[in-house]
Amino acid sequence: MTARRSASPQDPLVRALVQAQLARPSRRAVLAGAGALGLTAVLAACGTKGSGGGVKLTPAQDLSASKKELSWANWTLYLDVSDDGKTYPSLEEFTRRTGITVNYSEDIDGNDTYYGKVQEQLSRGQSIGRDIITLTDWMAGRIIRQGWVQELDHTRMPHVDANMLENLKNVDFDPGRKHSVTWQTGYAGICWNKAKYPKGLRTVSDLWAPDLKGRVTALDEMRDTMGLLMLDQGTDISSPDWGDEQFENALETLNQQVQSGQIRKVQGNAYKEDLISGDALAGIVWSGDITQLNFEHDNQWEFVIPEAGGTLWSDNLMVPMASQQLSNCEKLMDFYYEPEIAAQVAAYVNYICPVKGAQQAMEKIDPELVNNPLIFPTEADLEKAYVFRALTPGEESDYTDKFQTAIGA
């Protein structure tokens, strides 16, 4: 790694460091005042600089032609695996076709924690040892906004351009998909236990029924829980027209339902255990989880997108500035937009497949899944699915703060 880096005179690390030192004499002076212990180094290492610092990062030199490899950081259970759980058939196929070996790691377990881990290196254009990272819309938006990822060359990704679902092509956090390619997508909506709550649900407000008191779970992902509440109150969360007022109104509802004990818990992936144990009978949940839970636990739950609408989120592939494998990465992204390959992945991960034509290709793999609306969405469902609009940095920190306070942290 080091050898490779020093071999490249255009290395972003060196450049960024030099520029950073030149650009910030005042900070250095302050720090010199702060004194001993090599504080400069220590402080520099603890992560405080956003793009506002004035250092504009540029992509590392692309060594794809000579180094046929790439490293991909993804979430767990997010790629087709062989029955013995040891190999990834679609990746093997990719290697066979292109000669590029892929070092695949499931090291992302949350947007916030992963950001906390890598933001310092990303912000300096230093290598994090990964050529592709996979992050959810809003986090992808934050990283693109800060200029920490490379621009992709769409002429080298014909399948992506041809097969990406229309409503994913133009997203406000990355117009024209210049920096990101959708990996998988899913809905946040509502679900209930069919046997224990036969009444079922149609809207988010149905969750506040007295007979569900203390048995409702909600997601600690702000944009999903707040998005559903805002949609329920008639706000179009995709449009740029809403602001603090609409957010505050929805927040008040959340606050009330948490304080009254109607919502048992606002939580991350742990909600699945509450559904299994029966502590939660209904709640705001992710579609892919319910597909998997139903598969493992005898179809106990039903998932719907609320009448007023649900959120559509995606995870996105991006290439950090320090990666020297850009065109290898583009090859991989393009590969996964071939309908047959996309169907192969979808048959395993059970989230919404972002690739047109994969539905037909699924016939050959698993005919039962062809008409599963949680993998291949219907037009009607897509019309009810909204993408939470991009927030300004100010809104992002203000809203996150308020949401965290409402959920007791």
Binding site: G53, D279, G394
Partner: protein, 311 residues
Amino acid sequence: MSAPAKEARAVEKVDLRSPEEIRAEKKKGRMGAWLILPGMLYMALFFAAPVVVLLSMSLFVKPEGAELGEFVPGWNFGTYAEVWNRYWPVLLRSFVFALIATVAALIIAFPMAYLVAVRLRGKPLLKGILLVLLIAPFFSSFILRTQAWKQILADEGWIVQTLKAVAILPADGSLTATPFAVICGLTYNFLPFMMLPIYASLERLDTRLLEASGDLYASPAQTFMKVTLPQSMPGVFAGTLLTFIPAAGDYVNAAILGNNRDTSMIGQVIDSRFFKVIDYPGAAALSFILMVCILILVLIYIRRFGTKDLF
């Protein structure tokens, strides 16, 4: 002793030693310095340096129109007032939960430690087995064990069903997502830290003292209060500190077994400020406040109950 007298004695002492002895002493002193060097370096690198970073980070300023997570060095003491005003109730709750858990752990651990250390002295096999059983939970993951509690205390588990049947819990009551569950989790997870030090000090208890106490017509209760308990104090003291301090800063139990209303602990808030809100100065200030509060509480405790055997 007056000052000159002391001096005289010191001089006298020096006079008594041969030059070889003095050299040996000095060498021993230098040797000591070398021995503690690795420890000091370790602490400097992994404790002192982070504390300095934490302190300076807590004073950083957010510039106007900053990108998320962008802060510049400064002297913003206001952060401390802000997070204190906002989070003192959570801090207080953390200490109350930790205190209750510590007392509960003491009540549970003492009889266990007594049984193994004193009553089973003649039966090494049984004693060994029990000790292993007591330490066994350490062999599996902390998070997994806490998750298991969630299943045990689930609404449809037999514990809640039984409690409802005998009307201890109301019909719509539950145990998970309550302060009760969080305190139970804390007590359980830190029990070995209480148990082992008490066991270690009771192990050394001279049972002849108990016999002597009985011979002097002390009742079993009196014997316990006047002989056994004072002898075990160093263990109790160490155990309470080892339980209380990590329990106060714990966030796993509250995150897994708690709710969003009345169980949040300070560790959760620090985690959320750092990773979610990306408020590094706020998180640093809270960590620092937590550290200082624990330090003050522990100092008061040592002053009040500290035993000479320990320090």
